[in-house]
Each structure stands twice: as C-alpha cells, then as structure tokens.
C-alpha cells in the first residue's frame, strides 16, 4: 500500500511555557515491510536538535522550543510504501539483545491474574504459543474506548476486561514474558481496521521474539498480525518507554492536548 500520513499533536498551555524539550520517536522503522519516500517532522517555534538511531533501531530526534509560547504543534507529514510481511520484522537492524525484553516495566508488571492467564494457554511450539497468548488477550479484554487511560497497567486492564490497543499490548507483552518469550511494545499507525473502517488514532501492538523467526507482530486488539495496513515507528518495554513523543517544559499552568491522525491510501 502507498500510504499518506498526516499526524498533528497540538499542546495548549494555560500559562505560556519556556524551554520545552522533546524527544521524538516519530520516524518509520527501516525494514523490508516499509519504504519511506518522504517524511517531515516539524515542531512549531522549535529548533531541531540531535538525531540518531538507537540500539532498538528507532530514529530519535530531539527538539527544543525556547518560548515563551502558549501552544506547540508537532506535525508529521509523509508518504510510505508498505508490504504485508505476515507480521515478521525482517531486515530490521537493531543491537539490543532479545533477553533484554524479558524484563518487566511499571505498566507490564505481572500480578496473579496475569500469571494465571499466561499459564492457561498452551501452544505446540513457540510461534503457536505466541498466537494463543495473543488470542487469550483478545478474548479477555474487549475493545472499548474511554474506560482506560494512558496510565492504566496491564493488570488493571485485565481486571477491567476492557480497554484499547495500549491495554491489549501491555497485557500481551506481560504474559509473553511470563512464558519466557521476549516481548515489546510497538507504536505506529494503522490505515484501517479489518472491516475497512478508517483508524483515526495512533496505534500500538506487540512484538514477540520467536526463535528462528525473529520479532513477530501481534495485534491483540484487532485479532491479527500487522500487515500492509500498519506503519511501524518504534518500540520499548511498555507504552511510556516506546512513546512517540516525550517532552518536558518549564511552566506551571495546565496542558491540553489534541491529536489528529489521518492515514490515507494513495493511488500507486
């Protein structure tokens, strides 16, 4: 698919802020399933700082806004070709050892319910086990926006039985690690859900390391593996670690955020 992406995040501050520093993980990953043709990051009133590829293979870009400003817009526009790789992250250069992704994190720390869920699943081999684990999360957490928030943990989402892609992904990474499979949180975009509905928000899914195959994506929220409808940006131990935008500013007032994402298919 040839996808056109526009992603805008507007931060509005109750009091003007100064010295905003951001660390952006907002550039598509480089692997066989993606070829980026044009990609532009712009932070209003900002100075582009350091850019580098980290050990996970993600392109990180720092931006600073001296201010004072009462709002900041982070705007992404780009064109990218995607291919269906059946979820396999082939040709992705990274240096972090998979065992590192067996560690838990604040949002994926297991509790008894997650342990029980992890143990309730059987698989004929590691790949099958990963599929079964993903299915078990789809079964136990219904997709429902508005009941969870960005700080909801895997154990809280499982107890609620409802949530959004972030919650499915936290739960899946948590139980995969419990079964000895390295797992991580991936952030990106999704063109449309399987029923053809446009997806107008950022998206997240899990990657599980399967010996012999490498990293494979599992989208428990949509009961599938990532294909050509998906655009991969970066990864981490959990949502906070993989966050596309991290920022800190000097200021004391309130902060509101508006996000709009459009992923459109373009004519080839």
């Amino acid at each position: 698919m040839r996808l056109k992406i526009s992603h805008e995040t507007v931060y509005r501050y109750g009091q003007p802020i100064r010295n905003l520093v951001q660390s952006l993980r907002l550039t598509p990953s480089v692997f066989e399933g993606q070829k980026t043709h044009e990609w532009q990051i712009d932070v209003s009133g900002g100075v582009k700082g350091p850019g580098f590829r980290d050990g996970a293979g993600d392109w990180i870009e720092g931006w600073t806004v001296r201010g004072p400003v009462d709002h900041v817009t982070v705007r992404i526009t780009g064109r990218i070709d995607t291919r269906d790789m059946a979820g396999v992250l082939r040709g992705h250069r990274e240096m972090i050892h998979p065992l590192t992704y067996l560690r838990d994190s604040p949002a994926t720390r297991p509790d008894d319910a997650l342990r029980a869920l992890a143990q309730s699943v059987t698989g004929s081999d590691p790949l099958d086990l990963a599929h079964q684990l993903s299915a078990s999360v789809s079964d136990r957490i219904a997709f429902r926006p508005g009941v969870t928030h960005t700080g909801t943990t895997a154990s809280q989402a499982l107890a609620l039985g409802e949530g959004v892609c972030q919650d499915h992904t936290h739960a899946l990474t948590a139980i995969a690690r419990l079964r000895g499979l390295p797992a991580r949180y991936v952030s990106g975009y999704l063109h449309s859900t399987i029923d053809g509905q446009a997806h107008d928000a950022a998206h997240a899914w899990a990657e599980i390391q399967v010996e012999g195959l490498g990293w494979i994506g599992f989208d428990a929220a949509n009961r599938c593996c990532p294909d050509e409808r998906y655009v991969r940006l970066g990864s981490g131990l959990d949502a906070a670690d993989a966050a596309p935008i991290r920022g800190v500013a000097m200021g004391t007032g309130s902060e509101d955020m508006d996000v709009s994402v459009r992923v459109e298919e373009m004519a080839q």
């Binding site: 010295n19 520093v21 951001q22 660390s23 100075v47 582009k48 700082g49 350091p50 850019g51 580098f52 590829r53 980290d54 050990g55 996970a56 990180i60 720092g62 600073t64 001296r66 240096m95 972090i96 050892h97 065992l99 590192t100 067996l102 560690r103 131990l237 906070a240 991290r246 920022g247 800190v248």
Partner: protein, 469 residues
C-alpha cells in the same frame, strides 16, 4: 585465625614501618593527645564530616582519623597498581562489549540473563560508544590484604565511588601536623589527583568539542551525604559545581546558565544516579536531571562520566565473573584475587552455606555500610541462629563469602599502638590513559578484633603512604 600484620616480618619491624615506630616510641603521651585533638579540630573546620560510601546515619558525624599512617613499599604498590589497572581495563572492555556485540556472552563465559535482565543494564545506550570507549572513568576498587603478597578484591565501584576527598584530606592534615615525617620519609604525593581527574575528564570530551573542554560536576544538591566531596573536588579541579537546574539542553548541545549567559558544557562528571539523569529517558518524575540530556549524549554532544549503564559492571552477580573478563578480554591471568562467593539462590550454595555459617561472612545482596551482615567467627550461637532464620525467609537476598583474615596495621589506641584490621580503596582514573595516584583511602576497624571497617560500625580512616624507591 592468624592475621598478617603489615608492620612485622617475623619478629622484626619491616623497613617501611621502622621510622614510624621510632616516631611513636619517642612521642610523649600528652603530645599525642594534643595532636589527636588538633586533627579533630582541623577536620571539623574543613567541614569534612560526610558519610563514606552512602552508609547513612548522621551526615554530620565525624569519622575518626587515626594518625598512624599505613605504609606500602614501592614494590608492593607496583604490583597492586598493575592489578588494579588490569581490572579497570577489563571492566571497561566488558562494558564496551555488553553494550555492543556481547562477545563474552556469545562465547558462553557469562550467562546473558545476568547481564541483559540486570536492572543496571541500560537498554537506551546499547550501540552507543562513548569517547575512547570508556564507560567507567573513576573506578574505586575495594581491597583487603591477607598475606604479604595476597590481596583480594571485595567489590568494584564503577559508578560514582566516593571517599577520595578523605584520601586528600588525610594527607593534607598529616602534612600540616607532622611536617618532619614528610621530610624524613620519601612519600609519593597524592595531591595531583584533582589535576589528573580533570585531565581524564577532558580527555573524553566529545568529538564535537573543538576547544578546551568545559567540565562540570553535577551534584544532587547539598542534602546529599557526599555534597562536601562534590564541592571539594570542583574547587580543587577549578570547575563549576552544578545542579540539574543549572544545565539545559538547546538544539544539539547542553549548556550551563552563567551570569554572562549560556556556556556550552562538554563533560559532565555526574554524582547522581542513572534514573535521575534525564526525565525524557529515565524516571519521568525526576526533578534532579536535565530534560533531553540523554539525546544530546547519545548523539555525541556531551560526555557523561561515568557513562549511563556503567553500573552493570559492578553488580554483585557480575562480580564473580571479573576474573573471567580479565582472561577473555586481556588474555591475562588476574593479578588480584576475587573472593569466592556463594549465591544463596543456588541450591548447592544454599546447602553449603547453611552447613558452614559459623565460618562464613553473609551479606545482603543490596546491603551496604556493614549493616545486615553476619561475621560467623565473630558471632555467638544465638546470633547465628537468628541470622539463619533471616536467610531461610529470603535466601535470594544473601550472598556468602569465606571470612577473610584481614591484615592489620599499627593504630593508635589508649595504650600506645596496637594492630587493627584495615581495608583499602584506591581510585583508578580511566580516560586516554589509565592513572592511579599512589595511595587511596585506608579504613580501619578501631574496635579490637573487629573485622568491620565501616564507619557506621566503629571504623576510622588513615593516611596511606607509598614510599618511593
């Protein structure tokens, strides 16, 4: 158990101590008491009262200073120096390796999970090689001596070892009080340490720095128990002492706020822990750090000493593999010994330790300061049983080691001088060169028979001499 007394060779006093013994024997009692009071007053006036090694307790406590120096001959020191530098090279090679290809793990010499699942292993710096490939720039290696030519390493401190200000102050005070001792003995100086430290820091400035590098010391602030040391070193090195709020990131670099405007900073000697360095990379709630610092660091705009993630080399679980690192990276045999260590989460080790508690030293994995430890041979049956119950409740919280026969040094006591047990922490500097000033911090267990040198348990400090040829 017999102990090596560093003052004697058989029945005769060893050369390095001969003059000192004469000095002590001709010293009138009232003179000694007067000098002891003078030393204490000097320490108070300088304000050096902080706790060593994060032992906690009263931050204003004065650590007892023993006026009787500990002395090494040149030849003894040369061997120690080779051993320490060897270890420092291996530890840095290990860090470069585990943040790179992980050859030592691929070769099966160290289990990968001990490294990659270690809390101190920092995923965000994988693949980034700091200037000159150095991760740990100041390594404090804790040593004990058990025989004339036998030294054991108790632990390596690769992050931000403290206590070097004691090494400098102990010497300063001895020179002020007993100048004649320094005229009569050829003692190698230690006061070049601040210059060497600054030179070391400057030598690891990032490639983007094209002037004389600007170095700073980053402190958590004056509530920190080692704040005195931070300001002391900044002063002696002639660099600024800063807190997180004094630094900021703009574009590709890190700057310090000054009265004449922003000044670019090239090298940060940080005395704060990894999780507090940068809220954008580590703990988002940290107020101590500098937002964006890690992005500047990872793109080569500033150097951080020690490198974030260096702590994985001094972890208690990794410690047992240091001799293996020396063989693997350097192709050499270790000059200094590691202490045999039983880890109580392993069944075989657990069984052995429980059967031999009266002979062993048992420590908490994350303990420090000599708290929460059992010294088997120095404990009563009741104390051992109480400790046994603690171990049974949580075996993975403990490691055990043989009780080492720590050497003794002559030490002032009420009756004159008597042998007391000591350890040693030298400070090794790693930059474009590896440097070690001849000396270090000697801690002494002032209580008769005690093997615990921690100041919280009645320990004191001594000046440490290395005699020149």
């Amino acid at each position: 158990m017999s102990y090596y007394n560093e003052m004697f060779e058989g029945d005769s006093v060893r050369d390095p101590y001969a003059r000192l013994r004469e000095w002590v024997e001709t010293m009138p009692d009232d003179f000694r008491q007067m000098k002891q009071a003078e030393a204490e007053a000097l320490f108070r006036r300088i304000g050096i009262t902080f706790a060593v090694y994060g032992e906690g307790g009263d931050p204003d406590r004065l650590i007892p200073f023993d006026m009787m120096p500990r002395v090494f001959e040149q030849a003894e020191w040369r061997r120690l120096e080779r051993g320490i530098k060897q270890r420092a090279r291996a530890l840095n090679a290990f860090l470069r390796d585990v943040y790179g290809r992980g050859e030592i793990i691929r070769a099966g010499r160290i289990p990968g999970r001990l490294v990659y699942q270690n809390e101190a292993f920092e995923k965000s710096v994988v693949g980034f090689v700091p200037p000159r490939g150095v991760y740990s720039h100041i390594i404090g290696i804790d040593l004990v001596r058990t025989a004339k030519d036998e030294f054991y390493v108790l632990e390596d401190n690769c992050r931000t070892p403290s206590g070097v200000s004691y090494m400098l102050e102990n010497r300063e005070i001895m020179m002020r009080m007993f100048p004649q001792l320094f005229r009569g003995n050829r003692i190698e100086p230690v006061d070049q340490y601040p210059d060497l430290l600054r030179r070391t820091l400057e030598s690891v400035a990032p490639a983007k720095c094209n002037d004389r590098p600007t170095c700073v010391i980053l402190t958590p602030g004056h509530y920190n128990s080692a704040y005195y040391e931070h300001s002391f070193l900044a002063n002696l090195m002639g660099v600024e002492l800063v807190e997180g709020q004094d630094l900021f990131v703009d574009g590709e670099f890190c700057y310090m706020r000054t009265t004449t405007g922003p000044k670019r900073v090239d090298v940060i000697y940080r005395r704060i822990d990894d999780p507090y360095l940068d809220p954008l990379c580590f703990r988002p709630d940290s107020m101590l750090g500098i937002p964006g610092l890690m992005d500047v660091y990872r793109s080569g705009g500033v150097s951080i000493c020690s490198a974030p993630g260096a702590g994985v080399a001094d972890d208690k679980a990794i410690y047992t593999f240091v001799p293996e690192m020396i063989r693997f990276y350097l192709g050499e045999e270790p000059i200094l010994n590691n202490v045999q260590t039983w880890t109580l989460w392993k069944d075989d080790d657990y069984r052995y330790v429980m059967e031999h508690l009266p002979e062993l030293v048992v420590k908490e994995v994350h303990g420090s300061g000599g708290y929460g430890m059992l010294v088997g041979p120095k404990s009563t049956k009741e104390e051992i049983e109480v400790f046994r119950a603690k171990i049974q409740a949580n075996p993975s919280n403990y490691i055990a080691q043989p009780t080492l026969a720590l050497s003794t040094c002559p030490t002032f006591v009420n009756e004159g001088i008597a042998p007391r047990h000591v350890d040693l922490r030298p400070y090794c500097l790693c930059g474009d060169r590896i440097e070690l000033v001849p000396g270090g911090l000697t801690r002494v267990a002032l209580r008769e028979g005690s093997l615990v040198v921690n100041s919280s348990q009645g320990g004191g400090v001594k000046d440490t001499w290395v005699l020149s040829e």
